[in-house]
Every structure is written in structure tokens, then in C-alpha cells.
Amino acid sequence: MGNSEKIKTEKLNAWFGQKQALRDINLSIRANVVTAIIGPSGCGKSTLIRTLNRMHELVPGAKVSGRVLLDGKNIYDDDVDPVQIRRRVGMVFQKPNPFPTMSIYDNVAAGLKLMDAKKGPALDEVVKKCLQQASLWDEVKDDLKKPGTSLSGGQQQRLCIARALAVNPEVILMDEPCSALDPIATAKIESLIRDLSKEYTVVIVTHNMQQASRVSDYTAFLYLGELIEYGLTKDIFENPKNALTEKYITGEFG
């Protein structure tokens, strides 16, 4: 409970063309915990996390208003380079998306290699450490030269997590990271998420309520682009204050 505030959104609105996807979101995300964002399809969950590392604006016609404070500094200020923000706030996507032409090693090393021209033993160390953190090292340590796409879906997703960790971010955003995976791979990723929150601030979007209750410390419930309820996961699931939240949690709609 004593964790400090890492990200804070203030009157955050987002649009795709004329369609408004987020309405006046005020959310305070704490450091070194897992925050889950839940809600029915199309409620703006993915849009919300994509505004947190300025990926939303890459979609043609997309717009944002309001403020997103990362350690107190608005990432939408004119003097902020989105590229720098994305290094501090990493992202794992819904479908595993390793770079198709790169080996397992190069996938993990990509950020450092292409950005800082880092190489040699120092880079080997980082790659090993990140693959270990993503609990993939033991499975791939003898095949680092093989293409990243040769791995199974669950392994590819852990590879993508290792790739995101390699640039040493402060926050990791995960957009339904298990929706394309089988139950065993999902369980691995979930325990990984728990471990990661010791060192990183994790925000995970999920449409799976059991998953939210298993992995997260805090939960935010979104409906039609509005933040309906936000609090400790335990409270949201056991004692929701809002009638809408209760209906969604109990499966009356969604």
C-alpha cells in the first residue's frame, strides 16, 4: 500500500477519428505492483494502455487530450520525445510478434543493438539475464541462433517479454498477453507477471476476470470508455461499490 505513484492520468480523452474511445479517465497507477484493466470488448482497455506509452497516436486519425504524468512529468508535453517515453514504458502485445528475420538472440538484443550499438560480452550478459527473467533461458540457451519465429506461441510471447525487458524499462504494459496462448503457457506468463512486479510497474489489460484476480494487486474497471471503478483487486472482486462493476464481475454482461 505504501507504493508511490508511477503514472497518473488526468482528464485523459482519446479518439479514433470521430469516435471517442476514452472519456475523462483519472487513474493513478502505483509503482511495483500489477494493475489490471478489465471491461467488456470495445470499452477502451487497449486504447488506455496505448496512451500510456504514446502508441495510440500511431494509428491514423487517432487523437489524445488530457495529461499522462510519468513520475510527475506529462508525457504529452511538447518537449517530450515519444521515442524516449517508449524506452521507459515497454509493451507486450496481444499476439506474439517477434521480429521475423531475427534470431532468438537478436530479438532480445534488438533494442540495445539498434539503439545504442551495444555489442560483445556485455550484450550477451543482458540477453541472458532478460531471457532468465522471462523464464525462457533454459529452453533456448542452446538455440540462440535459431529464428525467433521457430518457437512455440507461448515461448514467442516470453521472448517478446524478454525483448521488452532488455531496454530496461520502468513500466511494462501488457495488452491481453495470454489471449493467444493455451492454459499451460498462460500459467507460465502469469507467474512471470507476478515476478516482474518486484522490479517493474506492470499494467495488464485482460478480458479474463480470473486472470485479473490471480495476477493483479489493483484493478480498474472500464465501461464504454469511462473508468467505472478502481481499487484493490480484492475489494473490486469481493466487494464492488458500483452496481455495474458487480454485474460485470458476476458475469451478468460482458
Binding site: 491514423p60 521515442v83 517515453i85 517508449r86 510478434n97 521475423p100 528475420t101 539503439m115 525483448r163
Partner: protein
């Protein structure tokens, strides 16, 4: 009941035979051309014929000229074509790009004789002051650029958005994402497009007719007239001497073999892409 079934089977057969006939009709001219060129051209082929200059009865200068033209044209056309394709695919969401895309499509099917006259009046008259390989390459790159740009755009569009997003979310700049992640992922498509464009320009006659003029001797310099295979076929076939006409058949066969080889390479390159 049974008779109507038979009738339908009969109609089915008729349709099948008609389709087959059409295919045969379409293939006959092509097959007869290839047969004729091989029959008349093959007896010409010898080391002497392929390497000697025009005075000694060879087509060495023409083969050398075609290779030089392919090299020079690719040097101009491939970088410009690929970069145009990158622009259209990666930054092509605006109205300028859609205008450019339309112009590019028109250029792909542009009458090549007009391209030849343009290169003649700009490069031959204005720059080199003589028929020259440079003028030929300029004309041919005019034909090559739109083809390469189009195939580059198409193969870049096949690279999933999720791959671009992965790179951008790592904090890579857009240009680095394109060069190090998107272009390699589209690599086979770029190779295929370039080879197709080379096959196309290797056989073009009209643009080089007005720009390189032809030469009996080997390469004389970048501002001197040069020979090329399609040009040699054209010039020799208009001569009265039977021996010289026979050389045209030989040159035609060599040209067909070059284009055929390039097409086989395209097949291999694109098959690799699909296997991935």
C-alpha cells in the same frame, strides 16, 4: 431425370474442352516463337559468336552492352524505386501519396518509345552530346523505377503492423524500424520485384533505339554509342545479308535465355518467401 443429368455432364465436358482449346490457342504463338528462335538461333551459338565483335561476326558487344545497361540502370533505378516504395507504403496515408501512386501506375504502363524520345532530348542532346550508355540507362530506369516502387510498396504492406509496433514500442525511431526491421522482413519481395524489373528492361528495344544507337565494337566510354542485344536483333534483322540475319536469331536466343534465367530466379526467390 437421367437424361437431364447426362445433358449436364455433357455441358460440363464442353465447357472444359473449350477452356482447354483457349489455353492451347494462347500457347501456340509463344511456343512457336520459342521453337523458331531455338531452331534458327542455336546453330549460331559458339564461343566466337558470343565473344567476338561485330566486324568478326560476333555479338560480344551486344551482350556486354546489355549487361552494362542492366548494371547502370539498376544502380539508378533500384535505390530510387525502393525508396519511393518505402514512402508510398510507410508514409503513404496522405493525398500527395495517392496522387503519386496513380502517376506511378500510369508510368508502369507508359509507352516506352515516349520514354526513349524523352531520354534522347534530355540526355543525348542536352548532357552527353552523343548516343551513350548513360542515356540508355536513364531511359530504362524511367521504366524500372515504377515497377520497383510498386512491388516494394506491395511487399512492405505484407509486413504485419504488429511487427512495426513491436519495434516502435521498443523505442526505436521510425527510420530505424523501417531499415532494420521492416525492409529485411520484406527482403524476398524486394528481390523478386528487382529481378522482374531487370527482366523487363533487358528486353526493351524502343528506349535504347533512340539512346544508345548500337555499336560494332565493345564498350567505348560512357559518352559513346553502345550495343545491346534487343538493338542488335532489330538492326541485324533489317539487313539483306542472310548471314547477318542469322546473327539476329542468335542474339534473340541469347536475350530470351537471359530473360528466362531471370524469371526462374524470380520463381525461386518468391517460392522462398512463401515457404516462410
Amino acid at each position: 431425370m437421367l437424361s437431364s443429368y447426362r445433358f449436364r455432364r455433357f455441358k460440363d465436358k464442353i465447357a472444359y474442352v473449350l477452356c482447354l482449346l483457349c489455353v492451347i490457342i494462347a500457347i501456340i504463338p509463344l511456343a512457336s516463337i520459342i521453337f523458331e528462335v531455338i531452331a534458327r538461333g542455336a546453330p549460331q551459338l559458339s564461343l566466337h559468336f558470343l565473344t567476338a565483335n561485330g566486324l568478326e561476326g560476333g555479338i560480344g558487344p551486344a551482350i556486354q552492352g546489355t549487361l552494362i545497361l542492366i548494371g547502370l540502370t539498376s544502380l539508378i533505378g533500384v535505390p530510387i524505386g525502393i525508396m519511393s516504395g518505402v514512402y508510398l507504403a510507410e508514409f503513404g496515408g496522405n493525398k500527395y501519396a495517392s496522387v503519386m501512386r496513380t502517376i506511378n501506375d500510369i508510368l508502369t504502363e507508359f509507352p516506352s518509345i515516349v520514354v526513349g524520345i524523352t531520354a534522347f532530348s534530355i540526355v543525348v542532346v542536352g548532357i552527353t552530346g552523343s548516343f551513350s550508355p548513360l542515356a540508355g540507362a536513364a531511359a530504362l530506369s524511367f521504366i524500372m523505377i515504377p515497377i520497383v516502387a510498386r512491388t516494394t510498396e506491395e511487399s512492405l504492406k505484407l509486413v504485419p503492423t504488429s511487427v512495426r509496433e513491436a519495434a516502435l514500442a521498443l523505442g526505436l525511431h521510425h527510420w530505424k524500424t523501417i531499415i532494420r526491421v521492416v525492409l529485411p522482413a520484406a527482403g524476398q519481395g524486394l528481390v523478386t520485384g528487382t529481378l522482374l524489373a531487370i527482366a523487363r528492361i533487358a528486353g526493351e528495344t524502343a528506349p535504347i533505339l533512340l539512346t544508345i544507337m548500337g555499336n560494332t565494337y565493345f564498350f567505348q566510354g560512357f559518352n559513346q554509342p553502345m550495343d545491346a542485344l534487343p538493338l542488335r536483333v532489330f538492326l541485324n534483322s533489317r539487313q539483306p545479308s542472310v548471314a547477318v540475319q542469322a546473327q539476329a536469331w542468335g542474339a534473340a536466343l541469347v536475350l530470351i535465355l537471359i530473360v528466362l534465367t531471370l524469371n526462374v530466379c524470380v520463381r525461386i526467390a518468391s517460392r522462398r518467401q512463401f515457404r516462410k
